[in-house]
Amino acid sequence: MKETISVLNILLPLLYFVSFGVYLLDFIKDLKKLINIKRVFLFLTLFIHIIYLLMRGLESSHPPITNVFEIFTVIAFSISFSYFILELLTDVRGTGLFIIILSLLFQLISSLFIHEQLVPEILKSKLLGSHVLSALLGYSGITISAVYGFLYLRMYLELKENKFNSLIYQRLPNLEILEKLSYYSAIIGFVMLTVAVIVGIIWLPQVPELKFSYSDPKLIGTGLVWAIYGVGIFSKFTGRLQGKKVVIFSIIGFLIAILSTIISNFVSKSFHSFTIK
């Protein structure tokens, strides 16, 4: 099984690269025959990726969330998987390359640096696995929301500046759809973050050795992101926020999420880090 995992580890960035390439080609050339082919490529990539994740989990007897590079491969999968579901639901097929490129980058870094290491017993908990997976899906949701937010702003500028000949203007869907895609992804992200928080609260008392702190940077960061998206979604729902303001809200939420991840992972100490000393 180890050999298969190694092969898949090499194969996955290539598959994401091919999927990205097909989406890019379709974006540039607008070839009718690629409309369904690109979807098949992405499906196959995701199918192989989920097999890889399952094999990895079975081989090591824990969910693949025990180090940054395992988390990266899960992020790569969840971003493209969320996009795939969104594409199936909305039939908006012209934006895939902007999302898949993120999966490609995450998977490439993961494949290059992933390695076996000793795993603390605490990380083998299924509840923790659910907590982390839902948090990753949540962050994937807000990442996709931000990508659509950026695309909205780009399209908005093209329209304002009469750049009707650009590929962005010609290939992207209309502003209202981009706004909806950004909004729906934000809702998915928000719901999954909420699930992550709830599972975390349930799991916490089961690990008395964990030094819980309300001033934990990851806790504060996630709380802040969760609150921003909560306020944004509520404001959009009640009609207080519309159009450009909705996507700017989403982008701000995403930037804070990135910032909080950097601070909590690399700058300050968190009870969220589990390493064997």
Partner: protein, 427 residues
């Protein structure tokens, strides 16, 4: 067998001459009957604001397009019209021209969709007048194929090429669905009216019209099931609309900076599209400064029109390829209508069937009988084909351009599948 034609169109004659020569339906029907009686075995006429054209199969091989030209100018005298205003077509160039018209590449606006419908109507008129036969029907079918293929296999008709339609297409790049949106059209001149019709075609949720002349609003509102606002009071309701298209001929601004300020205040951050398709402009350019307003004037819409026209022109080589393919198909069929090749193909077809059957059954006969079987089956085939062959030869004496000859040859070819034989060989 020859097809000839004449055309007065936007490339050959100025608009006043084209207008003067334009034929009404009754005129076309009368003219077709006369043409059919005097000059042409088969004929059809197309007459639109941009072209008047006659095509047909001459009764007399010596008939020239100049004779048709004289016939037309005698039936519809137009002062100032001269030989230089006519394009003349023979045989392949005539068919090529009809195909170009059907594909929309001979139109004033390349890729024009209307012409295809007009061509269909013209053919229907010719059919009703009894001036069409097998050849014209086949020609029309081929032109239909060219028109349809050009539309589906190329993007020759894609994209807006009028300012009004460009405005509506631009709106669709901002709003995903118009059926939950409200629109106001200010000014119901030709441009405003067309814009209102386009919005209706796109299923706009609520359409409101306003015009200085109330009667004009009333008439169009009835046609489009729209509501009307009095011109004196529409400004009070600006904030109620997601889309505002203004196309008046007013020398002053209709929507000022103050109106915009008030409107955006009332609409909060809801997106509003303002399309100013008037010259001089109706809406203050201050609109550009508002984040929630998408303001476009005639200059920006013209950018779209020019881009689309360029894209359509870039598609012309693809249409030429389609026309070439269909010309080959059409003339392969036309050439197959000659007597000698028809008799030859008919005999070959029967001989093939005979020899294949004999080959498959020959082992059932002893050596001595095999030769007899060959002779017997050949004799049967010869007897079967004797009458059709002599009938076809008689038809040849009528002249191969006669409708009777064309019709009989076509029937023989169709009944015995000889058309397919030819095509297969060519392929």
């Amino acid at each position: 067998m020859n097809i000839i034609g004449i055309s007065v169109n936007h490339n050959t004659a100025p608009v006043d001459l084209r207008e003067a020569l334009h034929l009404q339906q009754e005129e076309i029907s009368d003219l077709l009957k006369k043409l059919h009686q005097e000059l042409l075995n088969e004929a059809f006429i197309i007459s639109t604001c941009n072209r008047t054209e006659i095509f047909g199969i001459p009764k007399d091989q010596n008939l020239t397009p100049v004779d048709m030209q004289n016939f037309l100018t005698k039936a519809k005298p137009v002062p100032g019209i001269a030989d230089e205003h006519f394009s003349k077509y023979f045989s392949c160039s005539a068919v090529n021209h009809i195909f170009r018209v059907a594909a929309g590449i001979d139109s004033l606006f390349v890729g024009d969709n209307q012409i295809f419908g007009q061509l269909k109507e013209s053919f229907q008129l010719a059919e009703n007048a009894g001036s069409t036969g097998l050849l014209m029907k086949r020609l029309f079918d081929a032109a239909t194929v060219v028109g349809k293929r050009s539309k589906t296999e190329t993007t020759i008709s894609d994209g807006a090429i009028t300012v009004s339609y460009a405005a509506v297409q631009l709106i669709e790049k901002i709003f995903s669905s118009l059926n939950n949106k409200s629109a106001l059209v200010i000014g119901l001149g030709e441009t405003g009216e067309i814009a209102a019709k386009h919005l209706k075609d796109k299923n706009i949720g609520k359409l409101t019209l306003t015009n200085r002349t109330y009667e004009k609003s009333e008439k169009l509102a009835e046609l489009l099931h729209a509501s009307i606002l009095p011109f004196s009071g529409f400004k009070d309701c600006l904030s109620e609309f997601d889309i505002i298209i203004s196309a008046t001929s007013s020398p002053e601004l209709i929507i000022t900076a103050d109106d915009l300020k008030l409107m955006t205040k009332k609409r909060k951050s809801a997106s509003t599209i303002l399309m100013d398709i008037a010259i001089p402009r109706d809406i203050s350019a201050e609109a550009k400064k508002y984040d929630s307003i998408f303001y476009h004037d005639i200059d920006s819409l013209n950018i779209i029109v020019e881009q689309n026209l360029k894209k359509r022109k870039d598609e012309i080589p693809k249409v030429h390829k389609i026309i070439k393919e269909e010309l080959v198909n059409f003339f392969s069929w036309l050439n197959s209508l000659d007597i000698a090749p028809t008799i030859k193909t008919l005999r070959e077809t029967f001989e093939n069937i005979r020899s294949e059957e004999v080959k498959s059954q020959i082992n059932r006969f002893n050596e001595a009988d095999r030769e007899k079987v060959e002779i017997l089956t050949k004799r049967i085939i010869n007897k079967i084909l004797h009458h059709p062959t002599s009938e076809l030869r008689k038809v040849a004496n009528l002249g191969i351009d006669s409708p009777e000859a064309v019709s009989k040859i076509a029937i023989v070819r169709e009944l015995f599948g000889l058309m397919n034989n030819n095509t297969n060989k060519e392929n």
